[in-house]
Amino acid sequence: MKVGFPHMGDVWLPMVTILRGVGVEPVVPPPYTKKTLSLGVRYSPEGVCIPFKLTLGSMIESLDLGAEGIIMAAGPGLCRFGYYAKIQERILNEQGYHFDMLTTELFEGKFIGVSRFIKRVSGGAPTTKVFGAVRLGLKKMDALDNIERVVHKVRPVEAVQATATKIFDEAKHALDEAPNAKSVDLVRADFVRRLAAVERNPQADPLKVGVIGEFYVVLEPFSNMDVEIELGKLGCEVHRTTFISEWTKFSLFLSILGMTEKGKLHQAAMPYLKRDVGGDGWETVGEVAYHAGHFDGLVHLAPFTCMPEIVAKNIIPSMKEQIPLLTIICDEQMGRAGMLTRLEAFVDLLRRRRDAQRKSGGLVRTAAR
């Protein structure tokens, strides 16, 4: 069976590795384009959030490439994301696509559950093979995320713009081709070295900017219009806590031991938001409280009508931790020029604020958010 899946950031990398490892032919849909988005928008309910529209468009593109099954996450305990697969299946059936919707409940069964799911998809591959494939897939994701962390540091200081981004793209291909765990380690070491050797701009004085918000729009550069690359160009060192490898590590393994991936953030959010509100609302509030002291600013990404992020947005202004924060709402109406203008203005503000702080040798209170 040929199996496709919708894109989310670089999740295709482990996905392809796992599927190939168990003898399933993966169908990788083309990267997101305007066409994907308009396909998704055309068939989606009007009021649904951008991840639904993008993933639906991506599913259509992989079905057009001959996929007979689509892998999609589902299950309760999230926001409306858990409801996506059912509706998307119905929409696609109405459009004349007939396929297997292979849904996996993200939080159930942990590592064993995912392995069992992969086994089902592969039509009964031997368990050792499944384990091996899942492990290699996760290792690649981990390596890529490690490289990305370095890329975030290099982007604002590189002498020639887009060097780090180019190297990062090469790293994705190199990791995709790596056949085993050992070669993944070699690729990781090689690319980290290459990034370290990138020529620097001696005048660069990067600002520290955290990127926080909803999981999907943070991880999918198309949906946030490459906000991290743009921040890099503007001389900001991007810090983010949301990485797929971090998330899988905790939700598949460590949560069994009662560790949550973002325990510290939840603790920080407690005075303002005492409960998990689904999605990433709790984490967003937590990150504002947690990072207020040591970042220059935060960029908050949220899909339009995202319920958890609206809860967070309502709570953030009343918090006693003060940090400049720019909320960018992502949807299909978003324009690049408008986003860039706001980003430039925000970075200008951060720079001036930092200069003032340095001059006065201490903290400067933000007058208004």
């Binding site: 649904v48 959030c49 409306r80 689904g278 709570i315 009343s318 709402i329």
Partner: protein, 330 residues
């Protein structure tokens, strides 16, 4: 006497008798905010971020109104009422939102998450009751009385074909004997029964000689069966009143369905869509979706309502005329 304020918004329509009984049995005085009006909405909307949905804006307006009238404002956080269902984030974080945007109100919250088990439930109820008495037996008695009040409230609506405003505010049961069509209005109670939010939708339908059916007139078991029919398993805590009611009224012989959704409602964006798709195929039932927010204008609503009723009338005439298949053109 301790005064507890209950905002006339969101879950008020579902649970007021239960909450009122609980607080009154514990010796508190219950204060209910006035009916939603323009200044309430404006004051609520001024406190929250602009993309918050209308019902939450309205809710914050009510909390603000109660803030200086009582000692506590009751804002529960209802997470889940069944295994493997989940509520909208705004309900989960409602006390936290209320605290953040209306700092002048003293919020009394309680966490309800029944899948965690009865022990947890009693513990939350006890911690709520502790604000009024130290005596656990009194709290237990109050919660039992509250539960009875809730049950008789629900069965009263189902048996009498009544909507919450008839029961809660003693509004007369307005359905005249002569109605030429039956229309189901589906949506969350805080949308379809708040006459300010929906611009008196139900009243307008009744004035047009239409019998109005709402989700509360259907026994819970039928609603749950409807959800299973359309979806297999409910996903949202308040899935019944939308998908369940939609499924129920698609099967039973109503002439049309009107769904009312606040702009930007997350759960509804998908739930109402399920009903809409089923209304088209396989049920071929007239279906109109009204999306409302604080900018909704009366004239636009009236025009759409008239057009919808005209269409239903023509469909009926077509069905009554001999030789027709009984179905309007698809």
């Amino acid at each position: 006497m301790t005064k507890v304020g209950i905002p006339r918004a969101l879950l008020y329509y579902q649970y007021l008798p239960m909450w009122r009984t609980f607080f009154e049995t514990l010796g508190a005085e219950v204060v209910i905010s006035p009916e939603t009006n323009r200044s309430l909405v404006a004051s609520g909307a001024s406190r929250v971020v602009s993309d918050t949905c209308l019902p939450v804006k309205v809710f914050c307006g009510h909390v603000l109104d109660l803030a200086d009238k009582c000692d506590y404002v009751f804002v529960p956080a209802i997470a889940s009422l069944h295994m493997r269902t989940h509520n909208c984030s705004k309900f989960l974080g409602l006390p936290d939102i209320a605290r953040a945007v209306v700092p002048e109100a003293k919020v009394l919250d309680v966490d309800i998450n029944t899948p965690q088990g009865q022990r947890e439930l009693y513990r939350s109820i006890y911690s709520l009751g502790r604000h009024f008495t130290w005596n656990p037996l009194k709290i237990k008695a109050a919660s039992e009385a509250a539960w009875q009040a809730h049950k008789s409230y629900l069965s009263g609506m189902v048996e009498g074909g009544l909507a919450p405003p008839n029961v809660l505010d003693g509004q007369p049961h307005a359905d005249g004997a002569a109605s030429w069509a039956t229309i189901a209005v589906i949506g969350h109670p805080y949308v379809i029964y708040d006459d300010f939010i929906n611009l008196r939708l139900i009243g307008r339908l009744r004035e047009a000689g239409v019998k109005v059916m709402t989700p509360e007139m259907v026994p819970h078991s039928d609603l749950a069966a409807g959800v299973v029919r359309l979806l297999g398993h409910p996903y949202w805590t308040y899935e019944d009143e939308v998908t369940g009611a939609g499924a129920h009224y698609l099967e039973t012989g109503v002439d049309g369905i009107i769904s009312v959704t606040p702009f930007g409602c997350g759960p509804d964006s998908l739930m109402q869509d399920v009903v809409r798709r089923n209304a088209r195929e396989p049920y071929h039932k007239p279906y109109m979706s009204l999306v409302i927010d604080e900018h909704t204008a009366e004239a636009g609503l009236v025009t759409r309502l008239e057009a919808f009723l005209d269409m239903i009338q023509r469909r009926r005439q077509l069905a009554a005329s001999p030789g027709s298949s009984g179905r309007a053109r698809p």
